[in-house]
């Protein structure tokens, strides 16, 4: 296979070998009809030879009225590979849970075949459908056709990034709230924040139905909404017995792995001290027929995760230990808006929520958003004695 200059791609050809699906084959499959894909192969082959990328910093491109959703991409090698001189990415907001019908997939393919490279990511890291590579002139037509088919763009830049969620109650017995409905609701409610960047930096929301956190919300979302419960784990003792009879070593593999050692197995009955259960999911994960989360379900809300740039990586930390999540989700939306208000006012350029909290202190942050401090928010109280007080007594002050 050759690029548009007729050059071969011997290095990339090596990546057509082997059992794992090949992205090179995907690009090549489009190269016959798409000069863009030919030049992508050419530029990539050059990257493989020279061990460096050849894409320029993103430029500001987009569709009218939106500030996000399109990532401008231009090639340094625009003369050698003119068909990828512009190679912009479009982010399209995925449906909750990444469910599609074959018709919906074909609709997306038809639009992209007409207006771009024909290459996609299913999906991008944040969750969007990604259309990989088109020119500025195609952006408005693509947007028009997408919206006619009920699809809209996702977030990019300093805005609410496209919220995402796990499969939730649509296919998982562990989902402690309706992740797909909440994700869809928040996405529609905050359309303005998603399309028109007005924040100090990006803000990500991820909805995970249980503490297994299949969308990695605790590591990747400024707001991590993780399903949990507060009553007793539901036990089917006969099914527990069946696991034991089937050879499972319940004492060692289940009770022995419980982080708070709150379970006991006497060979006949599994007992759980639910007041000491920290909802880790290990026992439930491994005895799917016997154990299930309790019935009084909701979520824990954690704040502040991010990757290392600038001040180091953060995991989200607890803001609300338990909240019921039912439509119209007013309590949650109100909390989100209070957080955005404080961050919008005090956040520095390119400062994530987690970094803001580190800078001003969680105590001050809580005061600003009107949330009371509670011990669930910390791994342990402070170890250093450098305690701030805003006021002190003067001689003659009345003691309260």
């Amino acid at each position: 296979m050759a690029d548009s200059n007729g050059k071969q791609t011997p290095l990339l050809d090596e990546l057509e070998k082997g059992p794992w699906p090949s992205f090179v084959k995907e690009i090549k499959s489009m190269a016959k009809e798409s000069p863009m894909c030919q030049d992508l192969l050419g530029q990539l082959e050059k990257s493989y030879g020279e061990k460096r990328g050849y894409w320029k910093h993103g430029g500001i491109v987009g569709v009218m009225g939106y500030g996000g959703g399109v990532i401008g991409r231009y090639s340094f090698l625009n003369e050698e590979f003119p068909h990828v001189a512009h190679f912009h990415t479009i982010r399209i907001n995925q449906p909750s849970g990444w469910f599609y019908t074959s018709d919906a997939i074909r609709t997306l393919c038809d639009i992209w075949e007409k207006h771009g490279s024909g290459l996609t990511n299913m999906h991008g890291s944040t969750g969007d459908i990604v259309f990989l590579g088109t020119q500025t002139s195609e952006l408005e037509p693509i947007f028009k056709e997408l919206t006619e088919k009920d699809f809209d763009l996702g977030g990019s830049g300093s805005d609410l990034r496209t919220p995402s969620c796990c499969v939730g109650q649509s296919r998982c017995e562990w989902a402690c709230y309706d992740t797909m409905q909440l994700c869809d609701h928040l996405t529609h409610h905050f359309q303005d924040e998603l399309h028109r960047p007005a924040f100090p930096y990006k803000f990500k929301i991820k909805c995970a139905g249980c503490p297994n956190d299949c969308v990695a919300s605790v590591a990747r979302a400024d707001m991590s909404i993780i399903g949990t419960w507060r009553d007793n784990i539901q036990i089917d003792q006969a099914a527990v017995k069946a696991y034991a009879d089937g050879g499972m070593n319940i004492e060692r593999d289940i009770c022995g792995n419980c982080p708070t050692k709150c379970m006991q197995w006497d060979g006949k009955t599994l007992t759980i001290d639910n007041s000491n259960c920290v909802k880790c999911m290990h026992c439930i994960n491994n005895m799917t027929k016997a154990l299930r989360p309790g019935k009084d379900r909701g979520a824990t809300i954690l704040l502040g995760a991010k990757a290392p740039i600038v001040d180091g990586a953060l995991l989200s930390s607890v803001l609300v230990p338990f909240i019921k999540l039912e439509p119209p989700y007013e309590e949650l939306k109100d909390l989100i808006e209070r957080i955005w208000e404080f961050w919008g006012e005090h956040g520095k350029n390119r400062e994530r929520t987690g970094e803001l909290i580190q800078r001003v202190g969680l105590g001050n942050f809580l005061e600003a958003i009107g949330v009371e401090p509670i011990p669930e928010m910390v791994a342990h109280p402070r170890e250093n004695p450098f305690i701030f007080y805003e006021e002190y007594l003067e001689e003659g002050d009345e003691e309260e």
Partner: protein, 360 residues
């Protein structure tokens, strides 16, 4: 020409309920339990007794519309037109008739997509764009992933590991792939301070923003050859490339020094141990396209050390915590170097602050 007001805008994504198969609509929120039937195949059983079978197949994440149409055709042939994708870029076909499963798996294999990734296996590698599409990549993404998974495919298609193993790759420290909590993370790194393009820097970049972007205060405003620019205190630079993110004149890409680091022991799930960050195992391996043999070998070494030594269910980080880091380095044969010792914020918290050591 259209104006901003005569188009549909702010409609958000289509509601998911349009895309759900009837068996899901009927049993939404009423699932009772699930079981893995064989590699890549599971069944969810509802309170009603209805069953939903899922077949999970690998994908390279970068897929063409031709492949997507093939997936759509398979969904029509086997699943009433229903399919979904997972958070790790696998594709899932949703069936109600178990007698069709094997034929679907055969069709998927025929178009080059192995079935697996469930249970105690290595699921797909979450990854970034790399040289295919990113301006800040220190390594390729799709190529490295392809090579690593070509080598580890047996662990995707079979369930012979002690627990789950999650691998992720990010091609620079921006980590769109958020690899920092993975059992094994492959991370592209720079190792040379930015080459400042003094010509016109102040036209394309705001100098105060460039200065403020540096977490170690290594960048200061400077006049260079009569031009307003910045200078870099090279001994303070730890190559994060945040200055490049705000200013294209701070060139970071450098074929001689760019490469790959490998991190281990992170997790996001709460099962047993709380979520953990990944820790540094190998600070630097060279970029050796097209097959990155050093990276492939290092990842396999880590997988095999864990697979051999871990207890049932034990994730990488739990395993290493139990055996201790000295033994991890001994078992893998990786050299422990100055680079492994943290020297960023709160580094002292990562020093060993007790005499609890295995002495033999």
């Amino acid at each position: 020409m259209a104006t901003a007001t005569d188009r549909r805008t702010d409609i958000g994504p289509p509601n998911y309920s349009r895309f759900l198969p009837p068996v899901i609509k009927k049993n939404y929120g009423q699932w009772k339990y699930h079981e893995i039937l064989k590699p890549g195949v599971m069944v969810h059983v509802a309170e009603s007794g209805d069953k939903l079978f899922t077949v999970r197949a690998a994908s390279p994440r970068l897929v063409s519309i031709k492949k997507l149409r093939q997936f759509a055709d398979l969904a029509d042939k086997y699943c009433g037109g229903h399919l979904r994708f997972t958070s790790r870029n696998n594709v899932e076909f949703l069936l109600t008739d178990p007698s069709k499963i094997d034929a679907l798996i055969a069709d998927l294999k025929a178009i080059g997509h192995p079935v697996g990734g469930l249970g105690n296996s290595i699921s797909n590698i979450v990854h970034t764009q790399g040289w295919v599409h990113c301006h800040s990549a220190a390594t390729d993404a799709s190529g490295v992933v392809k090579c690593v998974m070509d080598d580890l495919q047996e662990y995707f298609t079979q369930m012979k590991l002690p627990g789950k193993l999650r691998i992720a790759l990010a091609c620079c420290l921006n980590m769109c792939g958020a690899v920092h909590c993975s059992d094994i993370a492959i991370l592209g790194v720079h190792r040379r301070p930015p080459k400042v393009q003094h010509d016109g820097l102040n036209k394309v970049c705001e100098i105060p923003n460039v200065v403020a972007a540096c977490p170690t205060a290594a960048i200061r405003p400077a006049m260079v050859d009569g031009k307003q620019s910045v200078e870099v205190l090279e001994e303070r630079c730890m190559f994060c490339a945040n200055c490049f993110s705000v200013c294209p004149a701070m060139q970071m890409a450098d074929p001689l020094n760019d490469g790959v680091s490998i991190w281990v022991g992170g997790k996001v799930s709460n099962a047993r141990h709380e979520p953990m960050f990944s820790k540094l195992a190998v600070p630097y391996l060279p970029n050796t396209p097209p097959r990155w043999p050093e990276v492939v070998q290092a990842v396999r070494t880590i997988v095999e050390v864990w697979a051999k030594g871990a207890r049932k269910y034990e994730r990488m980080g739990e395993f290493i915590e139990r055996i201790g880091w000295p033994r991890f380095f001994k078992l893998t044969g990786f050299e422990f170097t100055k680079q492994h010792i943290d020297d960023f914020r709160h580094a002292g918290l990562t020093y060993k602050r007790s005499a609890q050591l295995r002495q033999s």
